[in-house]
């Protein structure tokens, strides 16, 4: 075989060997253990801090609200959907009975028009709802700006919760 072909093949062999070595070095350790992904990714995800409690943990202390809620359209809505992640609150709030809660344990109390609009603002992409087909799985659609317009002079507007009880709307 001529000299130049030997050198060329040599270069390619070195290139392929380098690739194979780098592949071993760079391939994540746990790759392929459970499938075509890095198995450690699952373990690493379990190490991430938790933020959400579950609905039952709220009911332990807030029985009255739970029974209110069970009677209305929001019965199936979990508390944390509106009030935000509550694991810290659920774990530590009972240690502050009759005392002021520290800020880190106070949950969000949504009361503005925008909070209700997240779900209830009319949106063409949501299922249209008519009164004869209403059921608890459908979200009532309201054009909030028309439903209660903002006063152009004072810029004041009624809040939704002025008329509707958010726990039993």
């Amino acid at each position: 075989m001529p000299q130049h072909l030997k050198r060329l093949i040599g270069v390619f062999v070195i290139f392929i060997l380098f690739f194979l070595v780098m592949r071993q070095v760079l391939r994540p350790k746990s790759f392929g253990e459970l499938g075509h992904f890095r198995a450690d990714a699952i373990y690493e995800n379990t190490l991430r801090p938790m933020h959400y409690a579950v609905a039952d943990s709220c009911t332990k202390c807030h029985k009255d609200i739970r029974s209110d809620k069970d009677l209305g359209f929001h019965a199936k809505l979990k508390c944390e959907v509106c009030h935000g992640p509550a694991l810290k609150h659920a774990t530590f709030a009972n240690k502050f009975k009759n005392k002021q809660l520290p800020d880190s344990l106070v949950l969000y109390k949504p009361g503005e028009r925008k909070d209700c609009a997240v779900c209830h603002q009319r949106n063409a992409a949501r299922i249209k709802i008519t009164f004869d087909t209403i059921n608890t799985t459908m979200i009532h659609q309201v054009d909030i700006m028309k439903h209660h317009p903002v006063d152009p002079k004072t810029n004041a507007a009624l809040k939704c919760i002025d008329c509707h009880n958010p726990h039993q709307p």
Binding site: H4, L8, L26, R27, N123
Partner: protein, 399 residues
């Protein structure tokens, strides 16, 4: 108005009719338009080179080296639009480390490397080895160093060794032609195999991509050849230029027929998506499809090139016409990629609505970035033409 509602209204102002929430923003932007465009230029330029090498179209000899170097320069940049689009260049190597044979996209690294290293690099190497050995002795400094390194320090330029180089080069080109077909067919395959998108999902897609690739590659090499002879103040070989234009005409005709076939098939079958696509084509894609791609990029070049097959004006006029047509064809193929990539994302898969595409000049996904990735291959090409000038090579007949 409250901020929340203001945002919602702003988002919805981009949208006509009903679209699913994940269809409002286009995920594949101008950089993804550029990727099939650049790979198409590579495949097309290589196929033009192979006409001389395998199909013995000797008249194309002056463009053989230019076509190969053009293909190589653009191939080096082909992945860059993807890397910039994904925005994590430090993770780009992972596609090679953990490939997945069941995903067309995940196998791209190997398709690319095969074409770059086994086809283009080796063909150039065997083609230039003897010249690099000679040039290494004639030059000094950086050039000499480059020739020494690139020729791997070999010195054997006996007729026997050169004949062997030529033979191997021929075999590589024979392998290279189906590889070029595969490379660009593969890019079309990625779009054609997306069943959920009726604008993309057609088995003709790889073939259409391939022929449009050949069209754009031939037009690019033609332009590079014209510009290069102008810069070098040489007399252009009009027979060669006429022959390139003739091939451009033939391939453009086939490409036009194939795309027409695809559209006629859509119209005839008139699937449930037809009405939505009809509105798309006559609405948001009207200028890019009918004017830029259809009229200026295809019909005008076909008619002009067709006329030039029978009527031959003076060489200066022909050269000017070829230059203008080359530019038009390149623009037309760019808009063909645009219409496929952007067009396929403009309509809702519910077939009830459309979104719009806006991008800015600045930014990782902007026009500026796209222009950079179109300029870089020309810089690489200039460097390669300086280092490995095809016109200084010793004539070999490639027989």
């Amino acid at each position: 108005m409250e901020d929340h509602l203001q945002n919602l209204y702003e988002v919805l102002s981009k949208v006509d009719g009903y679209v699913y929430p994940n269809e409002i923003e286009l995920n594949w932007s101008i950089l993804i338009v550029l990727y099939p465009y650049i790979t198409g230029l590579v495949a097309g330029a290589f196929i033009l080179a192979s006409l001389e090498r395998i199909f013995k179209v000797k008249i194309l000899k002056p463009t053989y080296g230019i076509a190969l170097l053009t293909a190589f320069s653009f191939m080096l940049v082909a992945t860059m639009p993807l890397v910039s689009h994904l925005g994590k260049p430090q993770r780009a190597y992972e596609i090679m480390i953990t490939p997945h044979s069941s995903s067309a996209m995940a196998i791209f690294g190997f398709v690319y490397l095969w074409y770059l290293m086994v086809v283009l690099f080796l063909e150039l190497w065997f083609d230039y080895r003897r010249d690099m050995v000679i040039w290494a002795n004639e030059t000094t400094g950086f050039k000499r160093f480059m020739y020494k390194v690139l020729s791997l320090g070999t010195t054997d330029i006996s007729p026997k060794a050169v004949a062997l180089d030529d033979k191997i080069g021929y075999i590589i080109t024979v392998i290279g032609v189906p590889s070029a077909f595969l490379l660009h067919g593969y890019v079309g395959f990625i779009f054609g195999s997306i069943k959920a998108n009726p604008w993309w999902s057609t088995v003709l897609m790889p073939v259409i991509f391939l022929f449009s690739a050949m069209v754009s590659g031939i037009a690019l090499v033609m332009l590079v050849y014209i510009v290069l002879t102008k810069i070098r103040k040489q007399l252009i070989d009009m027979d060669c230029l006429d022959t390139i234009a003739k091939y451009l005409f033939y391939i453009l005709l086939i490409d036009f027929a194939l795309e027409g076939l695809d559209q006629i098939h859509r119209i005839y079958v008139a699937e449930e998506s037809f009405e939505a696509l009809h509105k798309l084509v006559f609405g948001k894609l009207f200028y890019s499809l009918f004017i830029f791609q259809g009229l200026l990029g295809t019909i005008v070049p076909i008619l002009t090139l067709g006329t030039l097959q029978f009527y031959k004006p003076r060489p200066v006029i022909r050269k000017t016409i070829y230059t203008i047509l080359g530019g038009l064809v390149l623009m037309g193929i760019f808009f063909m990629r645009w219409n496929v990539v952007i067009g396929g994302q403009l309509f809702s898969k519910s077939f009830y609505g459309y979104t719009s595409f806006k991008t800015s000049l600045i930014g990782i996904e902007g026009y500026g970035m796209a222009i950079i990735w179109l300029i870089v291959p020309f810089l690489i090409l200039s460097f390669l033409l300086w280092l490995l000038p095809p016109w200084k090579k010793i004539e070999t007949s490639h027989d």
